[in-house]
């Protein structure tokens, strides 16, 4: 009761301080000063949002069901950890978290940008405040997390059990840091465009923010994938689900942006790219918010649907888009003098190639995600765009992309010759040899798989070579590229060599395939705090005499009443064995899915390596010139 009141009023106070900051920044921008008052109010703004957020967390901890958000998403029997993570497992609370990250970031920005011009800092703050005020109004008007219910219910409705998972408790906050980080990039790029101060110095200042954002975005996507892998029970880690796509799209533009800024740090080229990519990254993040929260899409991630919220975000999003388009067209001055001053074979070209590849992948994902919506609105036809669409359009382009990525980093700035040509060709021959050796036993799609695999191996070998020969020079780039090559390689091998078998079994029956025998020993049932667990005990006698034991689990949650299946996964260095079971309606049979998936752990660790690259890049003191 009390905490809801405090939370609500601190939200209002937060909005007031944002409006005050907005006013002061306009005044200060005209006077070309940076008033100390602004620092105070930025602090207040952050402080009030923290108070508001904490009071929501408290309401969740004490299961205060007079609060509508708590009532809808919590239950007294839920473990404490999930009561807390339930705070951001719903629309209202997650927006509050979003706001918390927004205000925190602008606060840090203000203190960390001392070496930049005052006008630039003020203008960035101004744009950021527009976004913050927009979200404050959105929260207070359409999705207030502190609504009362009367009479006070005795029990809440419970958090969706598939969200009751440790990884999913940290996945949203990390992803939000990524999304919100892009707003800082957006604001600072607009500010720099208006003031026309795009310089090498500014680029290295922006690079830090891009690296942070990129780090958290990658990590957030990784956690989401791992969660989907073991919780959704399909045995995959990427489903081309619309909401996964909206997190991938900003990642693609951000990756391109990161590379452009690396160029910009060396010399003033590709400025339009930087501006456009920054605008796109933020817009796509916002677009993700719109798609998830408006109810225009149906997906595992969708929050409660409400067209009013959708309309607000839509209008807000498009006002920001138009604002940035106008700023780009009226203020951006291209530096024509420098523009075409690099040779076709140079690092700049390879980064441009990278950009175009990213744009291509982006457009594939974008079309796949929003085309169904467009089609339904225009002709009320329903289509669903699935993995085959993405695979068909992306895989052929992966081959040149990987080759370019292998060669690109070895080129020099401005003008370059291919050095060690023999060496490069030798590696290519080697990778063709290795991949055809690996694939010689698999008969399907031999040619395309060999091509793909050899280009992945090629990148892999070259990046290993770079990792060792270049020593610590450009270590962050090498480790990130190495991680990426490992990622592609493991995904390819995983796709080619995964096996899956699906069958129905009941207790004490067994099933044989390819000389392996799967025995369903027994069902163990026991009661947990907020669910009933049914564990199937399986034994697999492999053809080579090895015996594995699997215990996949079904959880029947009581609040709300939902059945989830927990896969049992045996992870080893080379492959994962994955078993999941499901109820067959009204029968004593269970539907069992057993998969052997090679190199799963390699996929996860390679993304960790990529993130590590970003982290090293962030902490690297000064760039070697």
């Amino acid at each position: 009761m009390l905490s809801s009141t405090i939370g609500y009023y601190s939200l209002i106070l937060g909005l007031c301080s944002s409006i005050i900051i907005f006013y002061f920044s306009i005044i200060n921008y005209q006077d070309k000063i940076l008033d100390i008052k602004i620092f105070y109010f930025t602090f207040f703004q952050l402080f009030f949002v923290i108070i508001s957020f904490l009071s929501l967390v408290l309401s969740f901890i004490y299961s205060d069901f007079s609060n509508e958000t708590v009532f809808n998403n919590s239950h007294t029997t839920k473990p404490l950890f999930y009561k807390i993570s339930g705070t951001w497992g719903n629309h209202e609370g997650s927006l509050l978290l979003w706001q918390l990250v927004l205000t925190l970031f602008i606060f840090i920005f203000l203190f960390k940008s001392n070496n930049q011009s005052k006008q630039y800092r003020i203008l960035t703050l101004l744009f950021q405040e527009i976004i913050i005020i927009g979200f404050f109004i959105f929260i207070i008007k359409t999705s207030n997390p502190f609504n009362y219910i009367f009479p006070i219910p005795k029990q809440g409705l419970g958090l969706n059990p598939i969200l009751q998972d440790p990884l999913l408790a940290i996945h949203p906050p990390i992803l939000y840091v990524g999304y919100v980080g892009s707003s800082i990039i957006f604001s600072s790029v607009l500010a720099a465009t208006i003031l026309n101060i795009i310089s090498r110095d500014w680029a290295s200042h922006l690079k830090k923010w891009i690296l942070v954002t990129w780090f958290f975005l990658s990590l957030g996507i990784l956690f989401g994938s791992i969660w989907a892998y073991y919780e959704l029970g399909w045995g995959g880690f990427w489903f081309w689900d619309p909401v996964e796509n909206v997190s991938l799209m900003p990642w693609l533009t951000l990756t391109a942006l990161l590379h452009c800024v690396l160029v910009l740090e060396k010399k003033i080229v590709l400025t339009s790219w930087v501006v456009i990519l920054s605008i796109m990254t933020f817009t796509l993040s916002m677009c993700g918010t719109f798609l998830v929260r408006s109810g225009i899409l149906n997906s595992v991630h969708s929050f409660a649907n409400d067209p009013e919220r959708g309309l607000y975000i839509l209008i807000f999003l498009f006002s920001l888009i138009f604002l940035s388009i106008f700023i780009f067209f009226f203020f951006h001055k291209q530096n024509i003098k420098n523009y075409s001053s690099f040779f076709w074979l140079s690092k700049e070209t390879s980064i441009l190639i990278n950009n175009w590849f990213m744009m291509y992948f982006l457009s594939v994902v974008l079309i796949g995600t929003i085309y169904p919506i467009f089609l339904e609105v225009i002709s009320s036809q329903k289509i669903s765009v699935g993995p085959p669409f993405y695979h068909k359009l992306i895989i052929p382009f992966l081959f040149p992309f990987l080759l370019a990525m292998a060669i690109g980093p070895n080129l020099k700035w401005i003008k370059s010759n291919l050095e060690n040509k023999v060496n490069l060709i030798l590696f290519f021959v080697l990778s063709i040899f290795v991949s055809s050796f690996i694939l010689k036993n698999s008969d399907q799609k031999f040619l395309i798989n060999t091509f793909l695999l050899s280009s992945a191996f090629y990148l892999f070998f070259i990046s290993i070579r770079d990792l060792f020969t270049k020593k610590l020079k450009n270590f962050s780039q090498n480790i990130a590229h190495f991680g990426f090559s490992l990622l592609i390689l493991s995904i390819l091998l995983n796709n080619i060599f995964s096996t899956e078998i699906i069958f129905n079994l009941k207790e004490s029956e067994s099933f044989e395939y390819n000389g392996n025998k799967i025995i369903f020993n027994e069902i163990i049932q026991n009661n947990q705090k907020n669910y009933v667990s049914i564990i199937g005990n399986f034994t697999i006698e492999n053809f080579d005499g090895k015996i594995d034991n699997f215990k996949p689990e079904l959880r029947i949650y009581n609040q709300p009443n939902i059945v989830t299946s927990e896969a049992d996964i045996k992870t080893s260095f080379l492959s994962d064995k994955f078993m999941v079971m499901n109820l067959v309606q009204n029968q004593e049979y269970f539907n069992v899915r057993y998969q052997v998936k090679p190199f799963m752990i390699w996929i996860w660790s390679s993304v960790v390596l990529i993130c590590l690259g970003a982290l090293i890049g962030f902490f690297k003191k000064k760039n070697e010139k």
């Binding site: 109810g295 225009i296 899409l297 498009f318 138009f322 388009i325 919506i373 339904e376 609105v377 009581n558």
Partner: protein, 179 residues
């Protein structure tokens, strides 16, 4: 001259881009306003199935034609003594049964007679009639996914279907629909 041309061209681009975004905006807006087409409704306005069933705790048989008067509205609730969420919604059903406009019919799903009797003795009997579905076949004909499930019937049609236990919000909705 070149400068002027460049400016013209950039204005043209600006115009095109803004046009594209306006179109995207309109399409999204339209998508929002008829957003309901994205959630297909299941089994709404379907005729009720034709079946016959035993009446609870007796040897009498009743057919669906005798049971449902087309001019009245009914609430069919599928329940079972072994079903935990049924217990949760039971208080609400008791509450509903006090309302004279509501004809509450129970369908006892895959249950033992004694257990079901004990259950009703313990929690009270909100139903005006109870049918027995020992094998679960009647529930399948209704298109039920499990227990509990509640169907609102008017003019021999299923107007609304509630999967899972009822709550306060559904109760208000049911009452307003019956009026």
């Amino acid at each position: 001259m070149v400068f002027l041309k460049k400016k013209m061209r950039s204005k043209f681009f600006l115009f095109i881009i803004i046009l594209i975004f306006i179109i995207i905006f309109l399409i999204f807006y339209k998508g929002l306003t008829n957003y309901s087409i994205y959630t297909p409704k299941i089994n709404i306005e379907n005729d009720i199935p034709v079946f016959s069933a035993n009446i609870f705790d007796s040897d009498l048989q009743v057919s669906s034609k005798e049971l449902f008067d087309p001019k009245k509205s009914y609430l069919l609730n599928i329940w079972s003594s072994w079903c935990v969420p049924c217990r949760d919604e039971h208080a609400l059903l008791m509450d509903l049964s006090k309302d004279e406009k509501v004809n509450l019919i129970g369908l006892n799903y895959k249950d033992r007679l004694n257990n079901a009797k004990n259950y009703l003795n313990e929690l009270g009997n909100p139903y005006s009639k109870i049918l027995v579905d020992e094998t679960g076949t009647i529930a399948i004909e209704w298109g039920a996914f499990g227990v509990p499930e509640t169907f609102l019937i008017y003019e021999n049609k299923v107007i609304k279907k509630y999967i899972g236990p009822l709550n306060q919000q559904f109760l208000i909705e049911i009452k307003s629909l019956i009026k």
